[in-house]
């Protein structure tokens, strides 16, 4: 809602500066988005009258004009041709700075002196109209500053109203607020006009078939109007509200809507068939062409205004083309009604028709402003478009809307706000806001709510009214004195926090990606998507890139790799902790699983002058999992070579924790990296966070007191055996004094027969009870060698 500072002075005496007024409104809950000047500063731009237009001696297209600007008569060379002698125009004199920082100087144009410039609307930044000079009304006073004449020196407060304050969508509404805040009473208004036409009852009847959707409908008829342009003051007023001028009648209805908050509609009376208005629900599939020339197919949910034959307006939303006021209109019917807010909202939403009118109706207007607004409009139309008003008004208002009565306990104000506001102050504030207050007893008042305040339903609503006028800033700052309760932080966040600490400690930076991804990714990489076919699609995605809920963190992280590589960032080690979404047959809502995703590109350690950096391999990401498990004290897990979704490469493993599948790791396959435009090897890992939340009771083992013995062994075995098989077999021997098996070398190559590989193994032996003798160690070590020889046909390497 935009309101002119000058204009509001006509309704209330407000001595506050625009800034101070804005501050007051903001602190009362009416947010002021901006304080704007209506026009440019235009010093030395005056109303002038053209006295003579003479041809330019040296140029066919130019004229030399003599212009009276009040104090002098100036000569101006002009290129426009839409003016004639006696026309009044804006004249920018020497020294005037036009919008666009265009300074007017005395100059010679093709040999003729020019002492200024006559301006078009565009040159004054009033509109895009640049085809000719702006011709001012004949009564424009010569010599007046153009800014004050055109109202360009005004200030507009641009208010952003919250949806509960429908009552402030009008000048009157804002004046009421200003009055409550300053104590100044609004100025009284009277709308006097004479009714010289026929009796309205003889020329019109109104019938409301759906009083639930239209509690009140009133109309007035004015005959013999002449449709034409509006006077400057009205055009300016509308402009200050951000509205365009259409014609005098339509402009009046819009103006009164802005003034009173009551949307009005003017029908061409002669086009109403049967001289009858019926307010009813539309029939199924009934059609109406609205003012925007679109055919609307209606349902019984839509309320229409109809004549005896057909719908003529979509009630409260938009008029019909069949009864539109045009240049030829002579007789008009003015409608002023109150419609059910949610019905209007539904209709406006269905048709995507959000008008100034529907905006107000759906927030609730003042059902008691119906007649006053109608009279105001009639008065202005008679004044601007002539004609005769029919005698009387038809006002169908079968059931008066009752006023809400709310009782308020004075102590509750303190209970809610935490500050003592005196009863006297409370009553003053409420009365200032047009509430009618009655004392019931010591501690209780009864408050009658004005009908325009649809938002005030309960005692707490009254308390908010009291608080905002009292001033939130006057409420003291305290801390709750409630008893302390122990803070049981939820495990989930602790765990998440822990994982984030661990990974940033491991040198990974945290990524956060959108939870939605492109369905196209899943389609294109369909064989890699292990998620159930039933995807969770957004009904109204913002873009097609974000139309489906993710089931893995991989697509986002792959994109991050590409994004960084494109910006020449290397060694991209990222992790993300976030939810993935899976449709579910058994629950109403999809299942949300917290996942940990990790992605790596580049080398395993940063490059330095020590030597060449080692490129990453799958064993780096495997090491990351081992390290994670160690930090989380999880010992019962396994990483097994297995094909997995979302990798599509031969280097892939599944991760199980306590025997249950928890995630995967590996090298990201060619198809995926190509899809994301990545031309480097990347390694990834994804784990279910819940699977890691196993509470293993922490149990500390005593530290060994006796020394350990280390024996190294180099063996050659067939490539067919995996390290894991080998280690597992040794572990299964259950040798009490074997503390650790460590693989320190793997070799394949020239020194060894093809099809064979060499392992360098280191065994640590230690007893908790005594110092081991050579003999004891040799005995156990020998058993291991024996097993390796027997089971794996290993040969010892010297």
């Amino acid at each position: 809602m935009r309101i002119s500072y000058k204009f509001l002075q006509e309704y209330i005496d407000c001595s506050l500066s625009p800034q101070a007024l804005a501050e007051k409104l903001i602190m009362a809950g009416l947010e002021v988005n901006a304080i704007e000047k209506t026009g440019p500063d235009l010093d030395n731009c005056l109303v002038g009258q053209i006295l003579e237009i003479n041809p330019h001696p040296n140029a066919d297209r130019l004229t030399v004009c003599k212009v009276d600007v009040g104090t002098e008569i100036v000569t101006i060379v002009c290129g426009a041709n839409n003016m004639k002698a006696k026309d009044k125009v804006p004249v920018a004199l020497v020294g005037c700075r036009l919008p666009g920082d265009f300074l007017i100087k005395k100059s010679k144009i093709r040999g003729e002196t020019s002492q200024g410039m006559m301006c078009s609307e565009k040159e004054l930044n009033l509109s895009e109209e640049a085809s000719g000079l702006m011709i001012l009304p004949a009564d424009a006073p010569i010599g007046n500053a153009i800014t004050s004449y055109l109202g360009l020196d005004d200030i507009i407060l641009d208010l952003e109203l919250t949806p509960n304050r429908g009552d402030c969508f009008s000048v009157r509404g804002i004046i009421r607020e200003i009055s409550a805040l300053t104590g100044e009473k609004p100025k009284e208004v009277h709308y006097d006009f004479s009714e010289e036409g026929e009796k309205i009852k003889d020329i019109l009847s109104i019938q409301i078939d759906s009083p639930d959707l239209c509690p009140r409908y009133a109309a007035k008829v004015i005959s013999g109007v002449s449709i034409g342009p509006s006077p400057l003051w009205l055009v300016q007023r509308l402009r200050s509200f951000g509205l365009r001028s259409v014609n005098n009648v339509v402009d009046v209805t819009n103006f009164v809507m802005m003034e009173w908050g009551q949307p009005l509609h003017a029908f061409d009376y002669d086009l109403i068939q049967g001289k009858k208005i019926i307010v009813r629900r539309a029939e199924e599939k009934e059609k109406l062409i609205t003012l925007d020339d679109l055919e609307r197919i209606l349902t019984s949910e839509n309320l229409v205004i109809a004549d005896s034959q057909r719908p003529i307006a979509l009630a409260g939303v938009m008029g019909g083309a069949n009864t539109e006021v045009s240049e030829n209109t002579g007789n008009i019917l003015l409608e002023s009604a109150f419609f059910d807010p949610s019905s209007i909202r539904r209709t406006a939403n269905i048709f995507g028709l959000h008008s100034e009118a529907s905006h107000r109706f759906e927030r609730g207007i003042d059902p008691e402003g119906t007649i006053q607004s109608l009279n105001r409009a009639a008065q202005l139309i008679l004044q601007l478009a002539g004609g005769k008003a029919a005698q009387g008004i038809i006002d169908v208002y079968p059931t008066t809307i009752p006023h809400r009565l709310i009782s308020l306990e004075i102590v509750k104000v303190k209970k809610v706000l935490g500050v003592d506001v005196t009863e006297e102050k409370i009553i003053n504030i409420l009365q200032g806001l047009n509430f009618i207050v009655q004392k019931i007893d010591e501690n209780k008042i009864q408050v009658q709510v004005p009908l325009f305040r649809w938002d005030v339903e309960r005692d707490v609503d009254l308390i908010e009214e009291i608080a905002r006028i009292y001033g939130y800033h006057n409420i003291p700052v305290n801390l709750p004195r409630n008893s302390l309760s122990p803070n049981k932080k939820t495990k989930l966040r602790d765990f998440e926090t822990k994982i984030k600490i661990v990974f940033s400690g491991f040198g990974f930076s945290e990524a956060i990606n959108y939870s939605f991804i492109s369905e196209k990714v899943l389609d294109d990489l369909a064989d890699l998507d292990g998620a159930p076919l039933e995807r969770i699609r957004l009904k109204n995605p913002l873009t097609e890139d974000q139309n489906i809920m993710r089931t893995s963190l991989m697509p986002g992280l792959c994109k991050n790799i590409a994004y960084n590589l494109n910006r020449q960032v290397a060694n991209i080690h990222l992790f993300e902790v976030g939810r993935c979404f899976f449709s579910s047959q058994t629950t109403n809502l999809p299942v949300e699983k917290m996942k940990l995703g990790v992605i790596m590109q580049g080398s395993s350690a940063p490059q330095s002058w020590r030597g060449k950096a080692v490129p990453l391999s799958i064993f780096d990401i495997k090491g990351v999992v081992d390290a994670l498990m160690e930090t989380l004290c999880i010992t019962d897990y396994a990483i097994l070579p297995n094909k997995t979704k979302w990798l599509g490469s031969h280097q892939s493993c599944t991760i199980t924790v306590k025997g249950r599948l928890a995630g995967f790791l590996g090298k990201v396959g060619k198809k995926i990296i190509k899809y994301f435009d990545i031309n480097q090897d990347i390694y990834a890992l994804e784990l279910d966070v819940d699977a890691l939340k196993i509470s293993e009771n922490k149990h500390v083992s005593p530290l060994p007191k006796y020394p350990s013995v280390v024996r190294d062994l180099a063996i050659i075995i067939s490539e067919d055996f995996s390290y894991q098989e080998l280690e597992k077999s040794i572990r299964e021997m259950d040798l009490k004094i074997l503390r650790k098996v460590f693989l320190f070398d793997v070799y394949k190559g020239e020194q060894i027969a093809s099809g064979k590989k060499s392992f360098g193994l280191s065994f640590t032996y230690q007893s908790l009870k005594k110092t081991l003798t050579d003999k004891e160690v040799n005995n156990v070590h020998g058993k291991i060698i024996e097993l390796l020889k027997k089971k794996f046909q290993a040969s010892l390497r010297e």
Partner: protein, 336 residues
């Protein structure tokens, strides 16, 4: 024999102290202690001694060997230390250190964790709820019925008519109250979604919602809690401004501004010359919300607040474009 050993020892000691370089020291070692050295030569003659003298002479000879070796070692260590020091002197200590990869938590995580800490200090627990929500929890139970204009404030992503991406973390309030009796003191952090994208909006962002329900609390407490939060999150000099606003689930409702972090209130581009920056919404829990979770609105009173974490991070770190948070550019992330 004894005499010879004694002399050898003295001669060795004298010679050692005269030596000035490692090479001569080595020569000296070979001369005395080498396989064909002076000591060995003496020892060779032991075998020719009478049997009863052998042990005695042998012990003296050994003592002599140990003594010379010790002297030699001491001298050697002296040289070695000087040498090491020389080496250290020539090491270019300005060579860069061997780098390790450094990871960074996302700035949003950092602000969130700071928020948890501040509110943990005020006795608030963390509560959680789903990101894909039912219309009931996201809107209806929060006093935002189907045809309410307040729905315009939330550009909602829908999955079906009734299932949507939560537009705020307020549904966690409802879930918590439905499953726990009062008193309640929670914060609900998490991702939320709105259909909006420009320099100040992303379709996904993070919110922290707070809720306190008890038999007694007031707007004045709300001001206190949020003042503590702002002073800890920003700086204790930051001013707060509470002004009336509208949220369907609180009454009275407030919008909270802080004095501009850039100009401290004198007016600049960041605050559009107002000196104030809006950072959160708050209010007293609406009785209709209590009714929808079957709490008695006569007995219970509550306060609630909600804030956008990206907005706080933008202000805290002076970031101009909210989209940076979700591009995951390492050049950005590694600044935190």
């Amino acid at each position: 024999m004894l005499e010879k050993l004694k002399n050898l020892e003295t001669a060795a000691a004298e010679e050692i102290f005269k030596i000035t370089d490692l090479a001569s020291l080595e020569q000296m070692r070979i001369k005395y202690l080498g396989r064909k050295g002076l000591l060995s030569q003496i020892l060779k003659t032991i075998s020719s001694l009478p049997k009863e003298e052998k042990p005695k002479i042998g012990k003296v000879a050994n003592d002599c060997k140990v003594k010379i070796e010790r002297l030699w070692k001491e001298r050697f260590d002296q040289f070695k230390e000087t040498l090491d020091q020389e080496k250290d002197k020539t090491l270019d200590l300005t060579l860069p250190g061997f780098p390790i990869f450094v990871g960074h938590k996302h700035p949003i995580t950092q602000v969130l964790e700071e928020t948890y800490q501040i509110f943990a200090g005020l006795g608030f627990e963390i509560a959680d709820g789903p990101e894909i929500e039912e219309d009931f929890f996201n809107f209806e139970a929060l006093n935002i019925p189907k045809d309410h204009p307040a729905r315009d404030m939330h550009d909602t992503f829908y999955i079906t008519e009734e299932i949507l991406l939560r537009t705020h973390t307020s549904p966690v309030q409802i879930r918590t109250m439905k499953s726990h009796p009062p008193p309640i003191r929670i914060i609900a952090p998490g991702k939320v979604y709105r259909r909006d994208a420009d320099i100040t909006h992303t379709p996904m962002f993070h919110q922290v919602e707070g809720l306190l329900v008890d038999t007694e609390t007031s707007f004045s407490d709300l001001k206190g809690i949020l003042t503590v939060f702002v002073h800890q999150m920003f700086d204790p000099e930051t001013k707060l401004r509470f002004r009336p606003s509208f949220f369907p689930f609180t009454e009275p409702s407030a919008e909270v501004d802080i004095s501009c972090v850039l100009c401290h209130g004198t007016g600049c581009r960041l605050c559009s010359d107002t000196g104030w920056i809006e950072i959160l919404g708050a209010g007293m829990v609406h009785p209709k919300v209590f009714e929808s979770v079957e709490y008695d609105p006569q007995k219970n009173i509550g306060l609630a607040f909600g804030m956008g974490i990206e907005r706080i991070a933008l202000l805290k770190y002076g970031i101009g474009d909210i989209r940076l948070f979700f591009e995951n550019d390492l050049r950005f992330l590694s600044q935190f």
